[in-house]
Symmetry: D3
Subunit: 163 residues, 6 copies
C-alpha cells in the first residue's frame, strides 16, 4: 500500500495545490496533505490550524476521497515516518521549482536513510501558474484572487481584508 505525503505551507491553499491533490489522491492508496507550521511561532498569513481547515473544506467541496490533512512541525522526513507515508509528492511548475525539488529530494532521501522517494506532479492547465505568495500579496492589497483560489479561501481572505 502506498501512502503519499504532500507537504507544504499552504498559506493559503490555492487551485494549483488542489489540482495536485486531485491527481495524487487518484494515484495513491492514501494521500496525507501535511501542513508545516510552528505552533510556538506562527509566522504566516494564516495559522496552521486555519490553513488545515481551509484545505479540508476545499477537499470536501471537491469531493475528493482518500485525503487526510495533518499539521506538522519540524522535518518532513519525520512527519512522513510518523504518519506512515512511504513517498513524498510535490507539485512542479517550472525549472526553478525543479532545482529546489531535486535538492530537497536528495537531502530527504539521504537523511531518511534511502527509503523516502519524491514524486513530482507537473502543474499543467489553467491552474498551473499560481503561487501562495502572490495570492497573499494581491489579496492583502485589495486585488481579486477569486479565479485562483477555492471558495473557502476566497471567503477567508475577503473577511480578513474587509476589516
Amino acid at each position: 500500500m502506498t501512502v503519499a505525503m504532500y507537504p507544504g505551507s499552504f498559506d493559503p491553499v490555492h487551485n494549483g495545490h488542489l489540482a495536485i491533490i486531485g491527481v495524487a489522491a487518484s494515484l495513491f492508496d492514501q494521500l496525507i496533505v501535511a501542513v508545516g507550521h510552528n505552533p510556538a511561532k506562527e509566522s504566516g498569513m494564516f495559522t496552521g490550524p486555519e490553513r488545515l481547515e481551509m484545505i479540508e473544506a476545499a477537499v470536501e467541496a471537491e469531493k475528493l476521497s482518500g485525503v487526510r490533512v495533518v499539521l506538522f512541525t519540524g522535518l518532513v522526513t519525520d512527519a512522513a515516518k510518523a504518519e506512515g507515508a512511504n513517498c513524498l509528492v510535490k507539485g512542479l511548475r517550472n525549472g526553478s521549482d525543479l532545482d529546489t525539488e531535486l535538492l530537497q529530494a536528495n537531502m530527504n532521501l539521504q537523511s531518511a536513510g534511502g527509503g523516502l522517494h519524491t514524486v513530482l506532479l507537473p502543474g499543467i492547465g489553467p491552474d498551473a501558474l499560481i503561487s501562495s505568495r502572490y495570492v497573499r500579496e494581491i489579496a492583502s492589497r485589495g486585488g481579486d484572487v477569486q479565479p485562483v483560489v477555492p471558495e473557502v479561501v476566497f471567503d477567508h481572505l475577503s473577511r480578513k481584508f474587509r476589516d
Copy 2:
C-alpha cells in the same frame, strides 16, 4: 493606442533597465516607467522619489522620448489601470527571471480580469547581465559600478558612499 507600463523597484536604475526602456519606448505609443515603493516605510537604498529622479535624468540623458516616470504603491495592476496602461513590460535575463515572470504574468492577468498582458523583452548584449542587488552590494563596499550604471546613478552612489 498602446500604453505600456514597465514596473519595478529600480533601486537604482542600471544600464540593463535603460536598454529595456529604450526598446520599449521605440515599440509602444507611450511608456510609463513605474517605480514601486512604500512612502510610509521606504526600505530601499534610495527613496522612491530619488529613484524616480535618477530614471528621469538617465532617460533625458539618453534623449528617449515618449517615456513618463511615475511612483506607485500597492498592486501593479491597479497602477496600470490608474495610468491607463494596457500592457506590462518586463526585462528577461534568464530562466529564473522567466519562471518568476510567468507566475506574475498569470496572476496579473487573472486578477485583472483577463485584459492586462505582459510583454517580455530579452536582455541581450553588453548590458544583459546586471542586477540592482549587486550594484548596491558592490557600490556600498567601495567597488566600481561605473561600467553598469548611468552617470547620474554613479554620481549618487559616489556621494552616498564617499561619506
Copy 3:
C-alpha cells in the same frame, strides 16, 4: 507606428499560436504572421500555402483584426524588412524556448544592424503547453487533437488521416 512580425513554421497553427496572435494583435498597430517555408522543397506536413490558409481561417473565426498572414523564404530579418515590420514577436513557453529565443534575438539584432528587436509573449493559461510537433505526431497516429487546435486545422487533419 509599430508593425510586428510573428514568424514561424505553423505546421500546423494551434491554439497556443492563436493565443499569441490574439495578444499581439491587441498590442501592435499591425501584426504580420509570417509562415516560413521553402517552395522549392516543401518539407512539412502541410505546404506553406496550406498553413497560411489555415491561419487565415482561424484568425477570421476568432474575429481578430489587424492581422495579415504572409509566406516567406529565407531569413526572418529579410522578411521583416520586406514587409516593413519593426519588431519580431515570439511565444515563450519555457526555459528551453527562452534559450533558443535569446540566441535568435541576438543573432537577428546583430545581423540586422541593431534595429530589429524581439518581443516575447509568455504562453500562460489552458493553451500554454502545445507543440506543433506533438500535434503532428498525435494526429498522424490517430490520436485526438481537437482540444488543442482550431476547427479548421482539426478538419484538415481529419481529412488527411482518414484517408
Copy 4:
C-alpha cells in the same frame, strides 16, 4: 489499483532507467515498462525485442517484482489504454527534460480526454546523469560504458562492437 506505464525507447536501458524502474515499482501496484519501436522500420541501435530482453534481464538481476516489459508502436496514450495503465511515469534529470515532459504531459492529458496523468521521478544520486544517446556514442567508438549500464547491456555492447 494503480498501474503505471514507463514509456521510452530504452536503446539501450541504462542505470538511470533502472533507478527509475526501482522507485516506480516500489510505489505502484504494477509497473509496465513500455518500449516504443516500429517493427516495420527498426531504427535504433538495438531492435525493439532486443531492448525488451535486456530490460527484462536487468530487472530480474535486480530482483524487482511487479514489473512487466512490453513493446508498443504508435501513441503512448493508446499503449496505456491497451495495457490498462492509469498513469505515466517519466524520469527527470534537468530543466530540458522538464520542458519536454510538461509539453508531453499536457498533450497526452488532453488527447486522452483528461484521465491520464504523468508522474515525474527525479534522477538523483550516482546514476542521475546518464543518457542512452551518449551510451551509444561512447560504446560504438570503443569507450567504456561499464559504470553506467547493467551487466547484460554491457555484454551486448561488447559483443556488438568487438566484431
Copy 5:
C-alpha cells in the same frame, strides 16, 4: 601561474564543496578557499573562524594539497586581489545556480576592470545535490546529515545540537 579563489559562506562546508575543492586543487597551481563573513556581525550558524577550521580539517582529512583557506569580509573581487588570485571558481548544480553565477561573473568581471574570470565546476556524481541551507535545517531539527558532510562537520553539528 594560476591562483584560483573559491569564495563562499561554507556554513558549513559539505561534501559537494569538498568535491569542488578536490577538482579545483588538481587543476590550478594554487587554490584559495575564501570564507566570507562579517566579524562585526556574525550571522551564520557557525562563525567565520569555525567555518574556516572545519574546511581546513576536512581538506587535511582528504589529503588535498595546494589548498589554503582564508577569511574575507567585503567584496570577492577585493579578496581576490588581496590574495593574488587570478580567477574565481564556483560550483554549479543546476540552472538556478547558473543564472546567479552568470550575473555574478559579469558583475565581478566588470567591476574588476575586466581581468577576473569565473570558472564553473559542475556538481556531478553522488555529492552533486547538497545545500548548506538544508544541512543546517535538517541538523538543527535532529535529522541525519552524516551522508552529506565530512566527519569534522558532523561532529560539530552533533555537539551543537546535542546540547
Copy 6:
C-alpha cells in the same frame, strides 16, 4: 601542469568561441582547441582542416599564446588522452547548454575512469549569445554575420556564398 582541451565542431569558429579561447588560454598552462570531424565523411559546412585553419588564423590575429589547434575523430576522452590533456573546457551560454554539459561531463568522467574533469566558462558580455548553427543559416542566405565572427571566417563565408 594543466593542459586543457576545448573540444567542439567549430563549424565555423565565432567570436563566442574566441572569447572562451582567450579566457582558457590565460588560465591554463596549455590550451588545445580540438576540432572534431570525420575525415571519411565530412558533413559540416567546412571540412575539418578548413575549420582548424580558420581557428589558427583567428588565434594568431588575436595574438593568443599557448594555444594549439588539432583535429580529432572519435571520442573526446580518447583525444584528451592522446594529447595529454587533463581537463576539458566548454563554453556555457544558458540552461540548455548546462543540461547537455552536465550529462557529457558525467559520461566523460565515468568512461574515462574518473580522472577527466570538465571546466565550464560562462559566456558573458557582447559575444555571449552566438551560435555556429545560426552563423551558417544567416550567411548561407545572404545575411550579415560580420559582427559575430572573426575576419578570417567572414572572408571564407563571403567567398563561399558569393559564388
